[in-house]
Subunit: 364 residues, 4 copies
């Protein structure tokens, strides 16, 4: 109940601080019989890993995950899967300033209020480093969903500060360091980031994530709607300030005749719903979008207070992402995968298995 | 786990269909000793009630709530509070069409896929009528938060289709049928809605909700961040397609120097965070916003299919809100109250009570 | 989390005080498509109902249950099932004494410590009257288990004070007011109870409950072992002080060669395990037993204190069961049914459906 | 929901197989500010450790626990505490027989039915080795309870097969390898165990556990009664077949006048309740007792079947405890500590802190 667990049937519980001994996670409720090895997770971990381009933090973490339990002779056994990533690149440095000051827009101030104590090294528990474990756990969910149901989950950066991707070419997403699906915008992004880094400032971003081939029927009506759980999952990612499903905030100005997705025997004629009706998947692609704020770790000085309430000027040195959104795509995919996995198991528990083969109507 | 419960320590579990015998709810975990009567809930229920202006559905429901347990001699006892609202205005009508057709953008199609059976009368469980119980439960949370912590939760309609409120005058919010805080825009909204009704179409809306005087320290880091739980709560309201905290999607184009809320000994200098840092309340006002889609129950015909997969033209007669957002403000406030209440108890469980009197720094 | 909910996937949440307006319950997670009417529950409610013989309390409650939601056209819809029993026989009486005194061995003292306030009328929430709702909910579970899996759940009184049933003749269980399976002991029990009533004292009892035809594979290893959940469920019944599975406390003096249930291709050769190995059902009958303490509501005076800490002599008048165990058999059956139902759904969620038809080996 | 987590606010989630890479656990919800080091856990781990006398298994495990997170500068931070014990003494051996046979009274058969796959090395997840993590987690709870509330939790072996302890001398408990509180019985136990080992058989045991100085008010009425959660916790320990609270099964033959614990201004006059009334602690010592079955790993041949359903004769060689009860005392204490800790936090969440200093009446 202290918020370190996500999911009801497929549960992911994480631990670990940025500069502690290790990050870890327990996946409970994974169905038995799934072929699983470290390599399945490493692929996604490497996509999130820092230091792969000049546009992300230069902290170098191997982020090598070890499976400690729950897998036997290459297959999941149905028992909890323990995962561990040892922290390797914790530079010893002088933490006295960070220990006594509250960095603006960081969790320093609120953790102190909540707990009366905090591990200030590198942000401690509030560091986005924690998301490595989500990516590892998401890889397990993703593999199951793909093998069992043919679900494909993919994300991309749709906007970096003022620059919007205008084309969605999935082939391009992994051809550039931004997960940008519009090749034409990549040079602009490169230039923008280079200028930003020089300037010492940071910028926000928007990530979209799409799940295709999701069978209709997943999601619990009322409080645990599929979209509500997705909003929960995505908003729980560090720096996220907004979540949309389907048409999202555009719905505000839409008329009913425009928004409603009409149906024909061949399928839906539009997808303003983003694949969710009444909280339950419709068989259309699940489409979500999230806003990430600019990172607050800047070398440009900011006004703040110290732990005694005195005014201070804070400068954050060290290795930080000038745009945390750049590495967020694999995290968003992972959270989408975990949500869908959890809802698949929940659905199967109450209602029996989904009909994979014969949707009533086709997909858009 | 079937999604009809919200909250971990202050839990709200609802039941009931739109045209069934009754709606009900169990509030579990309410602290003992709170003075409580039906009147406390009725005030908010009446604000959500249909039929109070020509701009909402003309269905007339008394929505009179009865407390069946958990209150003794005018005070909560700490045992579960059972609430009941009997349904009174269920017109007997011919449901044969609605039984055999899937209304576009409704939950008909997805419920059928999920359960293989559905109560089609008035939308059954997927009807927004269910939210009456959230409002009743929210009133309990709100009262506790106000009395114990001095928290004030208020919402308003910030946009109705293309018309945006430009002033935030809390006094105005209850002076018009829209919960609009900008008196100058009310005539425009009136005219817009009249035209829309004539046209037979519907429109979306945006609701903002603000909690003031929230002590710093509420919220669980990682998955159950205060903002993540809020996103979950708001996205679980019927018709909601997007949620923002603080600067929300504007964060995408903000630079770090602009977004980060600097602090001085006198308080924060801005509130882009919306009162939440690292998932934990900062003592600033909690600010959330949500987008509601236009209602899909239209008398303008729409293409769809019947239960056998044949094409049909669907016309929805009956009494429906042309803008579901108009009645949504009390629901958003209720969900905000439930989230804060739950997190207050969760915080108190792990960390002991909050320091109400002496925040380190003042509020903006 | 305030303990009024049982189950993880098939959840039962109850509310209501002994002398309040009503008792109620929400069953969430029930699979759709189950034929269900009030009559299905009434049968078991009537078995638990007081006043059916001279050996139980003469309080007369109709205990008529109403289904308020979740059932449509005679079948469950998968949405929450709201149940209500209005209290009818609350005699108005003078509660001033009971309000100011703590009855020995009652929850008066502990509720007061916990909540600082209590509904003292008839025991309030701590009254065994609450178990009516468990019986109603258990009837739903029982019906599903029987229809879907062929599971049969039956209980009986195996001991009433010093008198032990020595034969297990299921036909006899419903031929006497004690649920005693040994007809020869009934006259002795009748005489014992008559003497006890005259004396003004009360007595304990032991109830056994057996589930047959449970498929192997139900139960979660480690903390939510099937037997651990059963122990939880049975110990949560008012007045229960001990729970055994299979050989129970006899295991203490058994040697391994005696206790271990050997297997042959035709089945197990004994059932000391009580149908559970490593926390998971083995396909053998699940066998549990529980001890109920004598009721503490006696007209024989007992020493106690009042709310101010002064010594008082407490005499409990009113209508009470001299042996609460007599009416406990349907409650034990109900809790067993709820546990098995919950574990069936949990199993199906993680592992897919059980193989009903082809157990590896036969049952004993 | 797959049963590897215990607790609602103070949650313990474990992973790991007997012969896998490591055992681990995440403690979530621990209050911040508690001084904690590995040594606090090691003390209890060493008490449970195998190989400390000739009467337990000769498997040698260092059982050295590492804290991986949640502790900073010697104090808990309120974030999850990750614990790890690497497995060191996994002898490589021939598992072909154990892989193809179901050992009688083991979880082999049921795991296979549940998951269709199992890690058969040393019992895999069903091995009592998992309880090492419970002991580690329990040590954290125990330390908090002691420091914050002055609660003391102690257990002892009250019966080993036919030999009952007749005196309760706490000083003796740690003076012998059995946790026996009656020094006079120790030689008899030694002789009994030596004979048993020679014989190749095993025997059951009974463990009692007592918590003193528990404040009144802990426990949630109805389903999560303190005694129900205790029964759940104790029954979840490997080999446990029965649980009693207070008078337990003796209640069956007690009359109400005998069982009810009368109160005077100086305190209770007896403790048949075992410290729990209506599911809530009364301030008296919490007293529980549990039965452990004899271990089923015997070198004396037993009839069973193989995975193909053919009859086989099973002989279990290797290093096994002839009486699993001998090492169970620290595990029972740990589970009691976790239950009390969880209920303390749950109580504090809903009701605010307990009054530690001024119980209304004294303890017995």
């Amino acid at each position: 109940m202290s918020g370190n667990t996500f999911g009801k049937l497929f549960t992911v519980t994480t631990f670990g601080e940025s500069h502690g001994a290790a990050l870890g996670c327990i996946i409970d409720g994974c169905p038995p019989g799934l072929e699983l090895s470290e390599a399945d997770m490493q692929r996604d971990l490497d996509r999130r890993k820092p230091g792969t381009s000049r546009h992300t933090t230069q902290r170098r973490e191997a982020d090598e995950v070890r499976i400690l339990s729950g897998v036997f002779e290459g297959k999941t056994t149905g028992t909890p899967i323990g995962l561990l990533i040892e922290n390797t690149d914790q530079r010893s440095k002088d933490y006295s300033k960070i220990a006594s000051q509250f960095r603006p827009a960081h969790a320093d101030y609120t953790y102190m209020h909540k707990y009366g104590v905090r591990d200030y090294r590198g942000g401690g528990r509030s560091s986005a480093r924690e998301t490595a474990m989500r990516v590892a756990a998401g890889a397990v969910a993703r593999k199951f969903l793909e093998q069992r149901l043919g679900i494909r989950i993919r994300g991309y950066l749709s906007q970096l500060g003022p620059i919007r991707a205008e084309k969605l070419d999935w082939e391009q997403v992994h051809q550039n360091p931004f997960f940008c699906p519009d090749a034409d915008k990549v040079p602009e992004m490169e230039a923008y980031m280079d200028a930003l880094r020089k300037e010492g400032d940071s910028i926000g971003a928007r990530i979209n994530v799409v799940a295709e081939n999701v069978p209709p029927g997943l999601g619990e009506p009322i409080f645990d709607r599929l979209d509500a759980d997705l909003a929960h999952a995505l908003m729980s990612i560090n720096a996220v300030k907004g979540v949309e499903i389907g048409a999202g905030f555009d719905s505000v100005e839409q008329k009913g005749t425009e928004h409603r997705d009409e149906m024909t025997p061949e399928g839906f004629l539009s997808n303003n719903a983003g694949g969710v009706l009444g909280g339950i998947s419709s068989g259309q692609p699940i489409v979500a979008s999230m806003a990430l704020k600019p990172t607050s770790s800047l070398r440009l000085p900011g006004r703040s207070i110290d732990v005694d309430g005195n005014p201070v000027e804070v400068i954050t040195t060290g290795r930080h992402d000038p745009c945390v959104g750049i590495r967020a795509t694999p995290i968003a995919e992972a959270m989408m995968a975990i949500v869908l996995m959890d809802h698949y198991l929940r659905h199967r528990g109450q209602n029996g298995d989904v009909q994979v083969s014969t949707p009533i109507i086709g997909q858009l």
